[in-house]
Symmetry: C2
Subunit: 193 residues, 2 copies
């Protein structure tokens, strides 16, 4: 059960067997059916979850009921609302499984305990947050500087495996257009190429 | 020269005098005139800078020449393009002073050295990146879910001191509208209240 997460951790920090065992003792193993909510708007996010199996999306719903997808998470990704988690305040996000999922999650209390006992984890989580910031900054940049077609092509190129696993209408909501608009973009693209 | 940054660091981690002196030895003190560039698109960002005095903005310019402001940084804030810095790859950002500025900056080599010698800094920088992620996530949320008026009011409420220091047309470029549009929003608001 811990092979994938141990491989992940080993990319960032070196731990003793004992430290690793302590880390495992703080994790909770969870299985979730497709279309289950891990988090809904207004709740405080009390997990950071490592995906062992499956696909998850986190998204906002605006006041017109339109969804904007912030992130797709698949195997070896972490998913959370870090701000809600860190500050223990209500989230604006929904986090929902797209497929049947298996996760290892850590809650706020245990993450604090982890940092207390094994400060090396500060480094791993710093690098993780840094990567998340990079992804979001790239998205922010794309949203102000690229056309829908460019954002679509970039998504397909960057995440080819995710693209095969999520429906087109969700890809539309990730790149920030309506599903109808994405259909038009795709048909224009295919005519061009 | 180090009072402000020492106060800042002390909020996150406890250091010995010796560690603090080592940290200081890695910093570079810089004075910059108003409207100086710290970074231009295409360059690799080789600094994280702590603002001792002054006001700085980081922004994108899209292919139509329109500016979108990512961040205003004033005293006690850090400014950088963290992704470009961490991965040592070209930036999409411009970082430019709005006022005469005084900074303390650390470069990539010295930051690596810092983590090597004083791992406690991992914690401080993790919390910093986490805050930056929170700010950007909030902006992303606002850009998809709030009207320009809501974003303007939120900016004025959240950053009253910055609002006094930067011109209205830059606030417009922060909340993602044209200066003309912001003028209309403001005059409608004043009529309403």
């Amino acid at each position: 059960m811990y092979e994938a997460i141990d491989r992940f951790v080993a990319k960032y920090i070196a731990l003793t067997e004992e430290e690793l065992a302590f880390f495992h003792s703080l994790l909770k193993h969870r299985k979730l059916k497709k279309k289950s909510f891990l988090l809904q708007e207004g709740e405080i996010c009390d997990f950071e979850a490592f995906v062992l199996k499956g696909c998850i999306r986190s998204y906002y719903i605006d006041k017109d009921g339109v969804e904007t997808i912030l992130l797709f998470a698949v195997e070896d990704w972490w998913v959370s609302d870090l701000t809600s988690f860190a500050e223990q305040k209500p989230s604006h996000l929904f986090i929902e499984t797209i497929e049947d999922c298996e996760l290892l999650s850590i809650d706020f209390k245990n993450k604090s305990l982890l940092f207390q006992k094994i400060p090396a984890f500060e480094r791993m989580f710093r690098l993780l947050v840094q990567r998340a910031l990079g992804v979001l900054q790239q998205r922010f940049y794309a949203s102000v500087s690229q056309t829908a077609e460019e954002r679509y092509l970039q998504f397909m190129e960057k995440y080819p495996l995710i693209a095969q696993r999520v429906p087109q209408h969700q890809i539309a909501r990730y790149i920030g257009v309506s599903p109808e608009f994405l259909s038009k973009v795709r048909s224009t693209m295919y005519k061009k190429h």
